[in-house]
């Protein structure tokens, strides 16, 4: 891989323009600035205004089977816990652990099988028997059959991650321009040499498309296809509860299957966890309905019912609000990371679906390594931007 962006190239302009001030853009900007690049982040809205502010802040390994995504998740874990360790308190990093619960003996058996498989690939898993469940979570339904505990699973407050990574990047010389929308690319033949924005042209050695769920539209401005689609999810937020009411991230074993599914219809699997502020977050629904922002009664009702099935005490607890977001989803459920051979100078870091918060740290570090001409710690080939066919049936209308 040739150095795509270096300090030598331009006397004016940036080494790297990052499109999108979500968590992936922020992490990429931070690691690129740390590597010595002159970085400008452009964002059409406000920082963390898209999917980064619409999730729970999960850093999960438990929901992943062996493969490139698990490799990236494990690599990200190291980046969060080593490279970013000194800042962990800023974004409320909490290694709370994940508890995956099963309602029946056959599901427990399947969970054990998954655990064995994950252990062989570097995931820490503890088998939890029926009689130990209450030691982990006192309020769990007594009808559950068993669980698996994943101590590596962690949580952060994702908006604070974005804000602080951008703050740290600014401290390293980066510039963040919000309210600035990319309207096109500067080209030199095939080569991308910067962006056109509502705030003027920005020449740059490289451009990183970190536009999340809207990355397909940004790629389209450069004439390349990156099929990122919205997959809607709702989260219910309860009234504040006493500390440690729910101690871990608790979810039902069916969640793993739902995450990997490509079904367009509504799927809900209960994911329940507490936060620093005392509220309990209840996810996770998945459905492909474009960018529809109306509250789905079906989805929030299912979330509530399934959360109560795990924690019967939640029945009388009040929901204060619900929020929704659009996961940036690619047909093969893998993110798009790396240089785009179809438009030299254009890079992508997008399509992380529901795992973007957790995967952002590793993604940012890998992108910075590749941009500065080093061999990335992890092979980026599985995430290649041109791995998709040039056309497909998956383009959905992408409104602003």
């Amino acid at each position: 891989m040739t150095p795509a962006a270096g300090r030598s190239g331009h006397s004016a302009g940036a080494d790297l323009v990052v499109v999108g001030a979500g968590v992936v853009g922020a992490a990429s900007a931070y690691f690129a600035a740390l590597a010595g690049l002159r970085v400008v982040v452009v964002e059409r809205g406000a920082i963390a205004g898209g999917t980064s502010s619409a999730g729970e802040g999960n850093l999960l390994v438990s929901d992943k089977e062996a493969g490139p995504e698990l490799d990236l998740a494990l690599y990200s874990q190291r980046v969060w816990r080593e490279d970013l360790a000194e800042h962990a308190a800023l974004w409320e990093f909490e290694a709370k652990g994940g508890l995956v619960v099963a309602a029946s003996e056959p599901t427990v058996a399947a969970l054990r099988g998954l655990g064995d498989h994950q252990r062989r690939h570097g995931v820490e898993v503890r088998d939890v028997g029926r009689d130990e469940l209450r030691d982990y979570e006192p309020h769990l339904s007594p009808e559950l059959a068993g669980a698996a505990f994943y101590p590596q699973d962690a949580q952060v407050q994702p908006m604070l991650v974005v804000a602080h990574l951008l703050r740290l990047a600014r401290g390293l010389g980066a510039e963040v321009r919000t309210g600035t929308e990319v309207t096109g690319f500067l080209r030199d033949g095939d080569r991308v040499t910067g962006v056109r924005t509502t705030g003027g042209d920005l020449p740059s050695g490289a451009v990183l498309n970190a536009a999340g769920t809207w990355a397909g539209a940004v790629a389209g401005l450069a004439g390349v296809r990156v099929p990122v689609l919205p997959r809607r999810g709702f989260i219910l937020v309860t009234q504040p509860m006493p500390p440690r009411t729910i101690r871990h991230k608790v979810y039902a074993a069916e969640y793993v299957g739902d995450v990997a599914s490509s079904d367009a219809a509504l799927q809900t699997s209960p994911v329940v966890e507490g936060t620093d502020s005392g509220t309990i977050l209840i996810g996770a629904s998945r459905e492909r309905v474009g960018f529809d922002r109306t509250v789905s009664v079906e989805a929030i009702s299912a979330l509530a019912a399934k959360a109560i099935a795990l924690f019967p005490m939640l029945r009388e607890v009040r929901a204060m609000r619900t929020y929704l977001g659009f996961r940036p989803y690619c047909p093969d459920h893998l993110p798009v990371i790396g240089p785009d051979p179809r438009a030299p100078g254009l890079w992508h870091a997008c399509g992380h679906e529901g795992a973007g918060i957790g995967l952002s740290a590793g993604t940012g570090k890998l992108v910075a390594q590749a941009l500065t001409g080093r061999a990335p710690d992890l092979d980026l080939k599985p995430f290649a931007p041109d791995r998709f066919p040039d056309a497909g049936p998956d383009t959905e209308e992408v409104p602003r």
């Binding site: 920082i47 963390a48 703050r167 219910l236 509530a304 029945r315 929901a319 619900t322």
Partner: protein, 511 residues
């Protein structure tokens, strides 16, 4: 599913009562949903009617109007035209492909009168429907759902608050809260009171306290006095208002209540509760400019105008605008129609303007809806109402211009002053989120510093947070600032059990 009403009216205050009875008398089938146990809203709030006393209506303006509306409500219910559902809050409203609206409601905790509790969950019953008391209501369907082909949203508003050092001490209340305790519960919230803020609403609160036996040490009005009386547009629009003002002036004099203009409470003092306030003369923008004085008090009633409740209108996607008083309101046309088909809005939610205007808007919305459904109209009536509403709006605008929230109010704040009391977010926290983390708009401030994320979901601190965000960026607040702090995904807290019961289709057979 039970009957689909022609219209559901949300709110039984001046606008909602007028809309409901007018719609029913025009021949429509009406559902009237209200959070309170008995009709009247905030404006005609009164003690439990089953234990009424003659003096409960003291200080109530337009009580005969209310009595008339209440009588018409009674008649319409007896005729089976209005299904009245008190004590229920709408927490979610949706619209299906056919244009039918579904309101999901939860008990508000205010409707637990014997008549309503005995019928709750029992569905529609002729016994409750024909009940003789205005406070007794019908029960909604088992799941608390109401369906209707049109909506008239008359959701009113609540006190607008500005933080000031010490405002979180016990004994500091909203002016409306003090009034509600007096009118709704016959409770006097303190003995030595200071009433402060801006606007004509401070006067009935002060005189109400005095009449109930409190010593009102001062009314601190941030703006110059009674300017609207000299405002040719304002005073000429609604002559009755001048009479009302004169009556209050006389009452203030009779109770010897000091009325200090261009004066604000800049700090509230006390250890465990209010002991005194510090007041200061201010310039036109609200900057302290004169001598400071301390006044002993055990009750501070603060009122900075009103914030309209827009949750349901925003949930449906209605267009909004920033009104003269700085509040976000629903944009409506000359027939009270919002930008969403079938959704009418009347009263404070379209702009704070008082009960008379709200009643007129409620009537007009019902008449306009009835006409759109082909019902015969009384010739000339809508035109006269529209003219009256126009005059009322001009008067309200003149009042808003006379009693603005002072532009420099954020200068009263200290680093440690709490802005969001639910989540204990201070002014300093907001400043740091802005200066260090790049939170340049209210939504980002909310995400990074958590104002408006607690129990009240921004109802108390939303206006202040939007104002602080704008001030930190050296600009005026915009509708875009206010919108994220005015919209709520759930219009009221609701138990997960109730949410789970909304839709049973997600349960697999073995569950």
């Amino acid at each position: 599913m039970a009957q689909t009403h022609d219209v559901a009216v949300v709110g039984a205050g001046p606008a909602g009562l007028a809309a409901a009875v007018e719609a029913a008398e025009a021949g429509l089938q009406v559902a009237l949903v209200d959070g309170a146990a008995q009709p009247g809203g905030q404006y005609w709030r009164h003690y439990d009617e089953r234990h009424a006393r003659p003096d409960d209506r003291a200080g109530h303006h337009g009580w005969p109007v209310f009595a008339g509306l209440r009588e018409r409500l009674r008649a319409a219910r007896a005729a089976g035209r209005i299904r009245y559902l008190p004590g229920r809050q709408v927490y979610l409203v949706t619209r299906d492909e056919s244009g039918t609206f579904t309101l999901r409601t939860t008990p508000s905790g205010a409707g637990e009168t014997p008549e309503t509790t005995s019928a709750s969950g029992a569905g529609e019953s002729s016994k409750t429907f024909a009940t003789s008391s205005a406070s007794g209501g019908s029960a909604p369907d088992a799941a608390g759902e109401i369906t209707a082909r049109a909506l008239i949203l008359c959701t009113g508003g609540y006190d607008r608050q500005l933080p000031v050092p010490g405002w979180d001490l016990p004994g500091v209340m909203t002016a409306g809260g003090v009034q509600a305790l007096l009118k709704g519960h016959r409770v006097l919230a303190g003995r030595r009171a200071v009433v402060a803020g801006t606007g004509p609403f401070l006067l009935p609160v002060a005189t109400g306290l005095a009449r109930a036996g409190a010593s009102v040490e001062a009314v601190a009005e941030a703006n110059g006095t009674l300017g609207w009386l000299r405002d040719p547009v304002g005073a000429a629009s609604v002559p009755g208002k001048a009479v009302e003002a004169a009556q209050y002036a006389a009452l203030m004099a009779r109770h010897r209540i000091p009325y200090r203009t261009r004066t604000v409470v800049t700090r509230i003092l006390g250890q465990d509760r209010v002991e005194a306030v510090r007041i200061s003369r201010v310039d036109r923008d609200g900057r302290p400019a004169g001598p400071v004085k301390e006044i002993a008090a055990d009750l501070v009633a603060l009122g900075w105008g009103f914030t309209p409740s827009l949750e349901l209108a925003l949930m449906l996607g209605a267009d909004t605008r920033k009104d003269v008083d700085g509040s976000l309101v629903v944009a409506v046309d000359g027939f009270q129609r919002s930008s969403v088909e079938g959704v009418y809005v009347a009263g404070e939610a379209t702009g704070v303007g008082g009960a008379v205007l709200a009643t007129q808007e409620g009537r007009l919305s019902a008449l306009a809806l009835a006409r759109s459904l082909g019902r015969p109209a009384v010739p000339g009536l809508m035109g006269r109402l529209r003219a009256a509403i126009g005059r009322g709006r001009r008067f309200a605008a003149a009042m808003h211009r006379t009693y603005p929230v002072p532009g420099a109010w954020t200068e009263w704040l200290e680093e440690r002053t709490l802005v969001c009391r639910c989540e204990e977010v201070s002014y300093g926290d907001l400043r740091r989120a802005h200066d260090e983390l790049g939170a340049h708009d209210p939504r980002t401030l909310k995400m990074l510093a958590r104002p408006g994320m607690g129990w009240c979901q921004g109802r108390v601190c939303g206006f202040a947070t939007a104002g602080i965000a704008a001030c930190l960026n050296r600009r005026e607040t915009t509708a875009e600032d206010l919108r994220p702090l005015s919209s709520r995904s759930l219009a009221a807290p609701v138990t997960l059990g109730e949410l789970a019961a909304l839709d049973r289709s997600h349960l697999s057979p073995d569950q």
